[in-house]
Symmetry: C2
Subunit: 584 residues, 2 copies
C-alpha cells in the first residue's frame, strides 16, 4: 500500500507518528521560509509542511509541484499552531521528510473546487476531473450509501435479488426500445429492457415471492434535463400480498433509509386518492410540504356576468397567505407566469383581501364586495391574503393552477429543502383516454389489475375503473410507483383487448406471460422506485445527472468518450445491416 493512512483520518492522537500519505495536491502556499501543501484524497485533506531552514532541498522540490500532481510523502504528524476547525485533520500537519512524485499533472481546464470556474460542457468532457470535486464526490458516496441501505433492508426482509436479462424482446407498448442486432440470428434484434416487468412477474409464478433488483433500464426517448436514456430502478415484486402489504413494506424501507442516511425519523405516510390529488392539488404528485389547497368556486363565481368564468367548466383558486401586498408589477409577473406556453392559462384573476376587510380584485367590474366576500369565505382567506383564480376546462385549469401553486410555494418559502413530506397517491384510474389515437391507454401498464369492486364498469365505463395502483411521492417528486397485477389469463386477455391489441399481437408479444398464468400464477404486485431520483431527492436537488458518474447529455451523447460513434463496415456486414442515412 502506498500509504499508511488516508488524508482524512489523522488527528491529535497520531502526534509523533511517522506516516506515509498519498494523494493529489489541492493547493500549495509558498510563504518564503515555509511551504504548505494541502494533500487531498477521497477521504479528506491533510496539510503538509516543508521548512526552508531545516531542509531547503526538499522545500525547493515541494515548491515546484503543481496543482493535481500525485505524490506520496513520508513525515511526522505534528500538532498545528493555528488549528483549522473546518477540517477533520485540522489539528495536525505533517512535517515531511521525503516526497515521491507518482505522477505529474497538466493544469486542469477548470478548478477542482466546490465552486468551479468550469462550464457544463467542459466539465462533461473532463468528467473524470469534475468527479474530483467535493459536491460530485459526495453525491456518489451518497448514492453508494443509499444503495447499500436499500439492499440491507430488502435482504433483512427476505427479498432475494434475482438478475433478469438485459437482452430481451422488443415490444411496441410503452416507450421506445433500444434494440440490439443479433449477429447469430440474422435480421433479428434483442431489445434492452425498459423495466424487468414481465420477468419479475414470471419470478412470482416461479414462487420466488419476494424479489428485488437494482437494475439499469433503458428508454429511447427524447431527453429532458431530468431524464437519461439509461437509468437505475429499484425493482421489486411480492406474491401472496395485497396493496397494503406493499405499501407498508416500502414505506418501511423509505423510513429506514431516511433514518440511516439522513438521521430523519419520518412519520407514517399519508395516503391520498388520485381523485383528491387532482381536485385539491391539480397533480398526481402533490407537494404537501405546504397547504394552499385548491378551492372550486363555480357556485359563487359563475352567473355574475363575467363571461370568462361563466363559460368555464371549472373556476378554481388558491389562497396565498399574506400576499395581499403584492404590487401591480408582482401580479403582472404572476399573470405572465401562468400565460407561459408550458403552463397555458389565458389569464389570472386575483383578489386582494385588504386589512380593512375590503377586497380589491382584477374583476371588480363583475363582482361586488359581497360576492368577493363569498369567495373569501369559501377559501378561508383572511385579511392580508391573496386569492388567485384560474378558469377553463378541468384538466388544463387544474394543471396550470398546480404550477401556480408550486410557484407561490417557492416564492413564499414554503418548499423547504430540509423538510420531507412523503405521500402515497392511491386509487389511480386503470385507463386513460388517448384522444389523439382514439384509444385507451393503460395508465400504469397493461399488467395492472382493476379494483375488484370496479370490475362491473369495465365494459360500460372503462374510464371510471380504478386500479390498485399507487405512487410514492416525496415533496412533489414521483419517487416510484406500482400496482397489484393481473394474474388470470382471461383477465389479461381482456385487458389487452381493451387496449386495442389484436389477439395475434398479444400472443406474439406477451404469449409467454399469458401461458404462464395458466400454470398456477399467485396473486402478486410490486413497485419500482427511480434510484437516480431517490438519491437526488436525498441530496436535495432535482438534477439526477449530478448523481450519475458518467451521464449522457441531452442528445444522448457521452462527450467524454465520444459515444455513440460510427462502427466499421465489417461490423455492419457481420450484423447484416446497412445504414440508410447519416447526419451530415
Amino acid at each position: 500500500m502506498l500509504r499508511t493512512h488516508t488524508c482524512g483520518e489523522l488527528n491529535i492522537s497520531n502526534i509523533s507518528q511517522e506516516v506515509k500519505l498519498s494523494g493529489w495536491i489541492q493547493k500549495s502556499r509558498d510563504l518564503g521560509g515555509m511551504t504548505f501543501i494541502d494533500l487531498r484524497d477521497r477521504y479528506g485533506i491533510t496539510q503538509l509542511v516543508f521548512n526552508m531552514e531545516t531542509d531547503s532541498k526538499l522545500c525547493d522540490q515541494a515548491r515546484k509541484l503543481g496543482r493535481e500532481f500525485v505524490i506520496s510523502v513520508k513525515g511526522i504528524v505534528t500538532e498545528r499552531e493555528s488549528k483549522n476547525k473546518k477540517l477533520i485533520t485540522g489539528d495536525i500537519e505533517i512535517i515531511v521528510s521525503d516526497i515521491e512524485i507518482l505522477n505529474s499533472s497538466k493544469t486542469p481546464p477548470f478548478t477542482i473546487e466546490d465552486n468551479t470556474d468550469g462550464g457544463e460542457e467542459i466539465r462533461m468532457k473532463y468528467r473524470y476531473l469534475d468527479l474530483r470535486r467535493n459536491p460530485l464526490k459526495e453525491n456518489l458516496l451518497l448514492r453508494n450509501k443509499v444503495g447499500f441501505a436499500v439492499r440491507s433492508y430488502l435482504n433483512d426482509q427476505d427479498f432475494m435479488e434475482v438478475e433478469t436479462p438485459y437482452l430481451i424482446k422488443s415490444t411496441p407498448e410503452g416507450a421506445r426500445d433500444f434494440v440490439v442486432p443479433s449477429r447469430m440470428n440474422p435480421g433479428t434484434f434483442y431489445a434492452l429492457p425498459q423495466s424487468p416487468q414481465t420477468f419479475k412477474q414470471l419470478l412470482m409464478i416461479s414462487g420466488y415471492d419476494r424479489y428485488y433488483q437494482m437494475v439499469k433500464c433503458f428508454r429511447d426517448e427524447d431527453l429532458r434535463a431530468d431524464r437519461q436514456p439509461e437509468f437505475t430502478q429499484i425493482d421489486c415484486e411480492m406474491a401472496f400480498v395485497e396493496q397494503e402489504d406493499i405499501l407498508s413494506t416500502f414505506e418501511g424501507m423509505t423510513k429506514q433509509i431516511f433514518d440511516k442516511v439522513k438521521d430523519i425519523k419520518l412519520e407514517d405516510f399519508p395516503r391520498m386518492p388520485y381523485s383528491d390529488a387532482m381536485k385539491y392539488y391539480g397533480s398526481d404528485k402533490p407537494d404537501i410540504r405546504f397547504d394552499m389547497k385548491f378551492v372550486e368556486l363555480n357556485d359563487v363565481a359563475q352567473n355574475k356576468g363575467f363571461n370568462v368564468f361563466d363559460s368555464a367548466e371549472l373556476v378554481v383558486g388558491i389562497c396565498a397567505p399574506g400576499s395581499a401586498s403584492y404590487t401591480r408589477k408582482q401580479l403582472d409577473k404572476l399573470t405572465d407566469f401562468v400565460r407561459k406556453p408550458q403552463i397555458g392559462a389565458k389569464g389570472l384573476v386575483y383578489v386582494k383581501c385588504n386589512e380593512d376587510g375590503s377586497f380589491k380584485s382584477s374583476v371588480d367590474k363583475f363582482y361586488s364586495q359581497d360576492d368577493l366576500k363569498a369567495w373569501a369565505d369559501k377559501m378561508g382567506a383572511k385579511a392580508g391574503d391573496l386569492m388567485l383564480v384560474l378558469s377553463g376546462d378541468i384538466d388544463h385549469t387544474r394543471s396550470a393552477l398546480s404550477s401556480l401553486r408550486l410557484e407561490m410555494g417557492e416564492r413564499l418559502g414554503l418548499r423547504d429543502r430540509s423538510v420531507y413530506a412523503p405521500l402515497w397517491v392511491v386509487d389511480f384510474p386503470l385507463l386513460e383516454w388517448d384522444a389523439d389515437n382514439s384509444r385507451w391507454h393503460a395508465m400504469h401498464h397493461p399488467f395492472t389489475a382493476p379494483k375488484p369492486e370496479d370490475m362491473h364498469l369495465l365494459d360500460s365505463k372503462p374510464g371510471e375503473v380504478r386500479a390498485n395502483a399507487y405512487d410514492l411521492v416525496i415533496n412533489g417528486v414521483e419517487i416510484g410507483g406500482g400496482s397489484i397485477r393481473i394474474f388470470d389469463r382471461d383477465m389479461q386477455a381482456r385487458m389487452f383487448e381493451l387496449l386495442g391489441f389484436s389477439d395475434e399481437d398479444a400472443k406474439e408479444q406477451f404469449g409467454f406471460l399469458m401461458n404462464a398464468f395458466e400454470y398456477g400464477a399467485p396473486p402478486h404486485g410490486g413497485i419500482a422506485l427511480g434510484f437516480d431520483r431517490l438519491v437526488a431527492m436525498f441530496g436535495g436537488t432535482d438534477s439526477i445527472r449530478d448523481y450519475i458518474a458518467f451521464p449522457k447529455n441531452n442528445s444522448g451523447q457521452d462527450v467524454m468518450i465520444s459515444s455513440p460513434s460510427t462502427i466499421s463496415n465489417a461490423q455492419l456486414e457481420e450484423l447484416n445491416l446497412e445504414v440508410t442515412a447519416t447526419e451530415d
Copy 2:
C-alpha cells in the same frame, strides 16, 4: 398478506395455533377417509390434512385440486403421528378448515420434482416452471447469498459501488461488441460494455480509490456450454496499491464468502508463477486438489533410438499412482482420449511399474529396464504406478498432458467436489504472439503494466516481459483475473504501438483515457471475478446456466420469450437501418 406463516416455518411450538398458508400443491394423496396435500412455497413444504368424516364437503373439494394449483388455506397446527424427519415442518400438519383456490393450473409439461422428467428444451421454454424445482431455486438463493456476502465485504472495506454506463463506445480490441443503434444520432452506434475497464480506471483518476460494481457485461461470441452473451462480473479497482494489496484484499473476500456461505475456513492461498503453472501443470489454471505434476523427460528419454521422442521438442509425463493394473483396454481408451481432436496428441506412451520392480511399457523395443528405471526415478514413480508420457512441441504437448492429467484425476477420484483448492497464478507474460496475424496481443488487456524489472526487454524481447497480472483459480476454474495498470501516458502509447495500433486508432478509441493520464493519474490496479462462475463453483457444478434465472441457449436465444425477434419497419426506419440479409 394472504398468509400468516410460510410453508417452511411451522413446528412443534406452533401447535394449536390457527394459521393461514398459501402456496402450490406439490402433491396430493387420497387415502379414502383422509386426503393429504403437500403445500409448497419458496420456504418449504407443509402437510395439509382433510378428513372425510369431519368435513366431507371440504375433503371432496380438496380431492379435486390438481398439481400446481395455488391455494390459500386456514387451519389448526397439529402434531403429526408419523413425523417426517426430512422436512423442517415434518413434526406438524394442518387440519384445514377452509380452502380458497387462488388459481388453477394446467398439468405442467414436466414434473416439478428434484429429478424432473422434462428435457432441456422444454424446461427452457417453460423456464418459469423449471425455476420452481428445488435445485434451481437453491441455486438462485445461493447466488443471492453470495452476492450479498460480496457486497457486505467490499462495503466493510470502504469500497464504493459506482454504476458505469451500459451505452458506451465500440472498440475493436478484444472480443466482438454488441452494438446499439442511436436514433438521435443517425448512423452511429453505442456498444454494450465487455467490461467497465476504462471507466473504472477513470474513477481511480477521479480519486475514488476503492471501486466495485456487480455488473452485467456483454460479448458477442459464439457460445459454448459455459458461456453466455451476457454475464455478471464482480468488477473492482483500487488506487495507491501494489499487487500484494489486491491479492490480499480479494483473498480475504474469497475466504469470507466461503466462511459465510459454506462454513469453510480456507488456508492462505498458494501462489504460482505462470511459468511454473505451464511447466508443471500445462495450464494457466491448474487444479491443485491433486498433485500428479509434470516431469520433463527429455534428458532420459531422448537419444535412445525412439524417433518420436528424439524429434520432439518436449517429452513429458505424469505418474498416475496405483494405476499399473490398467488393462490393455483401459490403456487403449486413454490413447483414444489423448487422440481426440480437441486434445490433439498423436499417441500415448505408457510405462507400468510392476510390483516386482520390473517395467512394462509400450516402448519396450527402444528402452531397457534400466532406461525405464531412470524415468521412474525422475518421476518418483513407485511399484504399482503408471507413467503416462506425451511428446511433441512444447505448447501442444503440455496442453494435451494437462487434459490427460485432469482425466486421470477424475478417474482416480482425486477431484473431490467438496474440497476447494484456491490458487493465485501470478507473473503472467505481458504479451502473447498471434502467429496468424503476425502481431503481439495483450495477454490480459492493453492497460496492463509491464513489471518494472522487465521493462528493459520491452523492445528486444517483448515475449519475455512479465506483467503484474494474476488470476484467481479454484479447483482448476479461472474465477477471476486482474493486473496492475499502466498510469502513464507515454507508457500507454508505447503499449498501443507494440500492439499494432496506429496513433490515430489509439487516439480515436482510447484518447480520453490517455488524456486522463495527463491530469494526475495515481498508480492503480484491479480485478474482475466472474460472478456466474463463482456461484457455480460454490454450488459444486460447472454449468453457469443453472445459476442464471433466464439464460440464453447456445444460439443466443431465449426460447421462452422468443427473443431475438424481428422488429417493425417503422422501428428500422427510425433508426436509419436496413436489414441486408435474413435467415430463410
